[in-house]
Amino acid sequence: MSANVSSNLAAMLKIRRFEEQCIAMARAGKLPGHYHVYIGQEATAVAACAALKPEDFLFSTWRNHGHLLARGASPGKMLAEILGRSGGYAGGKSGTLHLSANDLGMPTTSALVGGSLPLATGAALACKRQGKGIAVAFFGDAGLEEGAFYESMIIAQVWQVPILFVCENNSIPPKDRKRGQYTSSTLPAQRLGDVTQSLQIPSEAVDGTDLTAMEECFKRLTAEVRNGGGPRFVEVCCSRWPGNIMTWPELPGGDWQIDWAFGGKPDVDAMVAWLSSDPLSLYLKKQLAAGALDRTQIEAIDAAVKKEMTGAAQFALDSAFPEASEAYRHVFAAQESAL
């Protein structure tokens, strides 16, 4: 088993097991508030972050857990934050919606649709002026429904700043929508990249279920951006996971099973159908077919990931809730009050 296969598998599993943990904690009443999970999109964050350098900046959305984990954030500190505990990245002030890790080049996370696009464009301006790094903006297809998207594209192109716009399109194709079902995107464009091409920003689409294809795509696009090519746009065509519903995420068929890559089937039809477009299952099957790894190795990696997640949960639950006085801190950063 190559180091790459092993690390890809571990990185994707880490995200999946983390999200399953979140759902379990919400069910147990330990995770308050609204939250979003990244199940079914793991390969995107893993492939994109593999192409990045420490000096690069990343911007995410309310669906940020996968981006942070792929960037190397601590699952324990993330989970503590998600539970509103003092040991979290923001000491309990951000929760899941604004989860950020400045040390990892993720200075803030906007939970507004399109909110991070202007910020990422500005980060790219800073990179250009400082002569190092690029910015990557992850956002969903609904981001294109906001004016901020168009303004950011124009500015990024006029300024020729080093930014990669990564649109993770996880919407349901219109033909699959049932009457009354929540639709996440109502954009009248066949291919999202058509929109940016009209502004002379090169674009392409990539299969969000194919980790290998995305590795090549992100490696090439980040190199173009890094070499002064200006902005790039990529539409990642994801397949929406059945548990991703309008209200609270659900876990149809229970936790993901390794056995599902070996002929076993979940007891929920929608999940059975979805597994043929699950990036994790597909990657496993492909590596198995190529003889790159065996079941024992997969089980060992999964066991290690699960152990890490159990530790993260323990860390989060052991972390105290913040003191009341903490509510008043960090309104303003410390500064000199005169010249």
Binding site: F57, F59, G88, Y89, A90, G91, G92, K93, S94, H98, S100, A101, N102, D103, P107, T108, S110, L112, G115, L117, P118, L119, A120, T121, G122, A123, A124, L125, A126, C127, R129, Q130, A135, G147, A148, E151, S152, I154, I155, V158, W159, R329, H330, V331, F332, A333, A334, Q335, E336, S337, A338, L339
Partner: protein, 325 residues
């Protein structure tokens, strides 16, 4: 050295750009359509045009880009043009910039300056005459600078560009450009968060900021001719608000007139009146008076706009009223 408000601004911007290469101008029409004042920006254009970015008319994303660049190591100032245009950028100014330090638990900061040429400027009509300091005062995390004198235009702008570590809205008033004041380059700057006593007095405190500062000063001149000594408190910054100096002044004079160009309800003057009611009631010999803009949109016609304007005459009348004359 006597300088004008516009000279102070231009000089602050030039000196800040010279002092720190991270200072970058996202838009640079600081003087609006005032052609004389625009000439003052020529040295900056000559020496630092590489740090003056070409900007499409995209207030939302320009504000956001300023925030993003600030978080990642730059010190940008975003020229939002006419003050009313900040509404196009509200999602970024109010819901991103103001929250970043707090919601990251202190991990990140955004030292960006948003520049607005705001106020009732004469025939601006309803969509180009806003003063947004009261609305923005409801947004914890934003600093709101409202200079009313040339000295503060220079020092507050320079401070914002070089020293501030927080998102700042710099509210400039185009009718202030020709106001002059003395500026001693060797004198230490009055710290941000401290109001400036522009004129000492014993009979009534006139609390002002931005455009109402010169009008309050003129009112104090007229009052003195009647033997009334008014103290003029120039707030300089609405956030932070120097409640201590306000209370101290009213403790001395016993009477307060608050002159402010925001609308009456929920305004800057309302906040100051509330402060006096909560913490200064025992000082007051008469009810406070607000000289503010009535709660109506700003009309185009000169005679209608004048009816609503916070004028020197209205300030004088309010002072006489609190003095029972």
């Amino acid at each position: 050295m006597k300088i004008t408000f516009a000279e102070g601004l231009a000089q602050a911007i030039y000196e800040a750009m010279a002092a720190d290469s991270r200072v970058v101008l996202i838009g640079s029409s600081f003087m609006g359509l005032n052609m004389t004042a625009r000439k003052l920006m020529e040295p900056a254009v000559r020496d630092y045009s590489d740090r003056m970015l070409v900007t499409p008319i995209s207030e939302l994303a320009l504000a956001g880009a300023g925030i993003g660049a600030a978080m990642c190591g730059q010190r940008p100032v975003v020229d939002l043009g006419t003050g009313s245009f900040i509404f196009q950028a509200f999602a970024q100014v109010v819901n991103e910039a103001a929250n970043i330090h707090y919601m990251s638990g202190g991990q990140s900061k955004a030292p960006v300056t948003f520049y607005c040429l705001a106020g009732m400027r004469g025939m601006g009509a309803a969509q180009h005459s806003h003063r947004t300091q009261a609305m923005l005062g409801q947004v914890p995390g934003l600093q709101i600078l409202t200079p009313g004198g040339a000295d503060d235009a220079y020092q507050l702008m320079k401070w914002s560009l070089l020293k501030s570590q927080n998102p700042t809205v710099f509210i400039c008033h185009s009718l202030l450009f020709t106001e002059t004041s003395e500026l001693d380059p060797n004198e230490p700057m009055l710290p941000v968060g401290r109001a400036r006593i522009r004129r000492q007095g014993s009979d009534v405190s006139i609390i002002a900021s931005s455009i109402t500062v010169p009008r309050a000063m003129a009112a104090a001149e007229l009052l003195e001719k009647q033997g009334i000594f008014a103290e003029v408190v120039d707030l300089r910054t609405v956030v932070p608000l120097d409640r201590e100096t306000i209370l101290k002044s009213v403790a001395k004079t016993g009477r307060a007139v608050i002159a402010d160009e925001c609308h009456k309800s929920f305004g800057v003057a309302a906040e100051i009146a509330a402060t006096l009611a909560e913490d200064g009631l025992s000082f007051l010999k008469a009810p406070v008076r607000r000289v503010v803009v009535p709660d109506v949109p700003i009309p185009f016609s000169q005679s209608l706009e004048e009816e609503l304007t916070v004028s020197t005459e209205k300030i004088v009348a309010a002072a006489l009223q609190v003095l029972g004359r």
